[in-house]
């Protein structure tokens, strides 16, 4: 009987380990997912090419904790972003809002593309005109044919 009880306890022991781990982390996975999703949209101010989610800088950790605390107290994502923008400016957002200072940022690429397409179009038109204009006279055609034949002869030789 003792042996059976011991074997039973041995079988159940992994469960105790699992329970212990779950208690240790003690995290709400849904909340954690939300924190990380929003942090990926926010810039780490210290290491400016990383997001808050990626960064291990101390300020980034502090700000992630701040984001987590605000979410825990029922704040919406937009409220959290507004809170950070009020302190650090639009720069914390990886998706900058559209306003007068960021207009060039939003429309710059489009303007460049339009200019590029315009230049391309203009050059193509010019080339077509040039190709159409260059009709050869009989004399020129003869000379061209002679030169081409010459060239062919040379390569054969």
């Amino acid at each position: 009987m003792k042996h059976v009880l011991f074997a039973l306890m041995l079988c159940l022991s992994p469960l105790a380990v699992v329970a212990g781990e779950a208690q240790l982390t003690n995290k709400d996975p849904a909340l954690e997912k939300r924190v990380m999703a929003l942090s990926a949209e926010l810039r780490c101010l210290v290491c400016q090419n990383q997001s808050l989610a990626d960064s291990h800088a101390e300020l980034a950790i502090d700000l992630r904790n701040e984001v987590r605390d605000m979410m825990k107290s029922g704040k919406s994502d937009a409220e959290v972003v507004d809170y950070l923008v009020a302190r650090y400016g639009d720069f914390v957002r990886y998706r900058p809002p559209m306003n007068t200072t960021t207009a060039l940022l939003w429309f710059g690429p489009l303007i460049l593309a339009v200019i590029g397409a315009g230049v391309l179009f203009f050059n193509l038109m010019k080339r077509r005109r040039r190709v159409a204009e260059t009709a050869l006279t009989d004399e020129e055609r003869k000379r061209a044919a002679a030169l081409l034949n010459d060239g062919a002869g040379e390569t054969k030789a």
């Binding site: 101010l45 210290v46 400016q48 101390e58 300020l59 700000l63 302190r87 650090y88 400016g89």
Partner: protein, 180 residues
């Protein structure tokens, strides 16, 4: 026009050199400085204990009525050492009171640091967990705020305060604010 066409790459090159010349020659610290949305807004309120008198508090309202500097510093901050002699000199000259915000530091470390290098501050408020730092949009010590008589932030200097920055920007602004 066709003859000058070969000069086009040279022209582009000179424009790029011009850009580099202007941006890279800007003084240290101003280059990466981010504009603060807090300029011309009321300095965020806080109530923190003082470094040297842990039983007493400091709040920005205590400095109401005078133009003052709030300097964010820490003993672990290397650039703070760099600006420290400038702050000492400014404190000796008595042109504007400097209050310290001791940012994410250990009390004994900060006290030792001031004992070793000198204390330019009227007092330092202890922001151990950096919460007040977040309210002020601090993203790296040292940072210095110029706050006017009504408690409104008028200027933020990011990075070590240089003699140049003091003479060209901070002190003229302090003088102007003192008149109003």
């Amino acid at each position: 026009m066709f003859r000058l066409r070969f000069l086009l790459p040279l022209g582009v090159f000179l424009v790029v050199v011009g850009f580099f010349f202007v941006t890279l020659r800007q003084p240290e610290g101003t280059r990466e400085a981010l504009p603060s949305p807090l300029i011309n807004k009321a300095a965020p309120d806080f109530r923190l204990t003082q470094l040297h008198e842990p039983n007493r508090f400091f709040t920005p309202a205590d400095a109401r009525g005078k133009v003052w500097l709030l300097n964010v510093w820490a003993s672990w901050c290397v650039s703070c050492r760099q600006e420290h002699p400038v702050l000492m000199e400014l404190s000796r000259a008595g042109l504007v009171p400097i209050y310290g915000l001791n940012y994410k530091d250990k009390r004994e470390d900060s006290a030792n640091w001031l004992a070793q290098f000198g204390n330019p501050y009227v007092l330092s408020a202890v922001d151990g967990d950096g919460r007040v730092g977040i309210d002020y949009g601090v993203y790296g010590a040292p940072e210095t705020y110029v706050i006017d008589k009504k408690g409104i932030i008028r200027y933020k200097h990011i990075g070590p305060v240089s003699v140049d920055a003091l003479q060209k920007k901070i002190l003229p602004l302090v003088q102007e604010l003192e008149k109003s």
